[in-house]
């Protein structure tokens, strides 16, 4: 449980944005796409744990099977 996660995601998004535009300026379109994909995967792995925790909390709270 930490609020830092939101700031972490924002930071990663900004870094990915900068890298994306730099690589695009260099003319490597396919690498730019790869960078975006990597960023999304990294953030998704961070968020998915939080979402899983949230759903299990709800499950325990309302005694869902």
């Amino acid at each position: 449980m930490d609020v830092d996660l939101i700031f972490k995601i924002a930071g990663i998004a900004i870094i990915v944005s900068v890298l994306h535009s730099v690589v695009k300026q260099a003319g490597k379109e396919e690498y730019a796409w790869l960078i975006t994909l990597t960023g999304v995967v990294v953030v998704l792995s961070m968020v998915s744990k939080l979402i899983w925790d949230f759903f299990s909390t709800i499950k325990v709270m309302f005694q869902l099977p």
Partner: protein, 128 residues
């Protein structure tokens, strides 16, 4: 964590979202996902107290425990479906959100079936 901190968290996430939405829409979805889950997880421990109070009250009133269990289950399904639908809507998938809501309604109907059956049996026994 009190309501003030939740409010500050929501406002800060909104600012970050406003920054990200135009530049990186996929990251904006992640931020709103994390913020939404986080806020609800902060509130969850408080709600547990309310639920135990409800259980206590129903026990004292002599209501059958199974019925309260069904009501809680329906409430949980509704919350999860609502959260997922809001996320889908946030990602711009209106169609998927409607489907999730429909699925939630059907699951609620299935969960509430024993109660409906009980009411039906009561009516039948009254008529005969």
């Amino acid at each position: 964590m009190n309501v003030l901190q939740v409010a500050v968290l929501a406002v800060v996430s909104s600012l970050i979202l406003a920054l990200l939405r135009s530049e990186r829409p996929e990251m904006a979805v992640m931020v709103s996902l994390a913020a939404g889950a986080f806020i609800l997880m902060v509130v969850a421990p408080r709600a547990v107290g309310v639920i135990t109070a409800f259980k206590d009250m129903s026990e004292r009133a002599g209501v059958e425990g199974a019925y309260l269990g069904v009501a809680l289950k329906v409430l949980g399904i509704a919350y999860i479906a609502d959260f997922a639908a809001a996320l889908c809507r946030d990602a711009g998938e209106e169609l998927l959100a409607t489907r999730v809501e429909l699925a939630g309604k059907i699951f609620i109907l299935v969960a509430a079936l024993p109660v409906i059956e009980g009411v039906f049996q009561l009516i039948v026994s009254l008529m005969t």
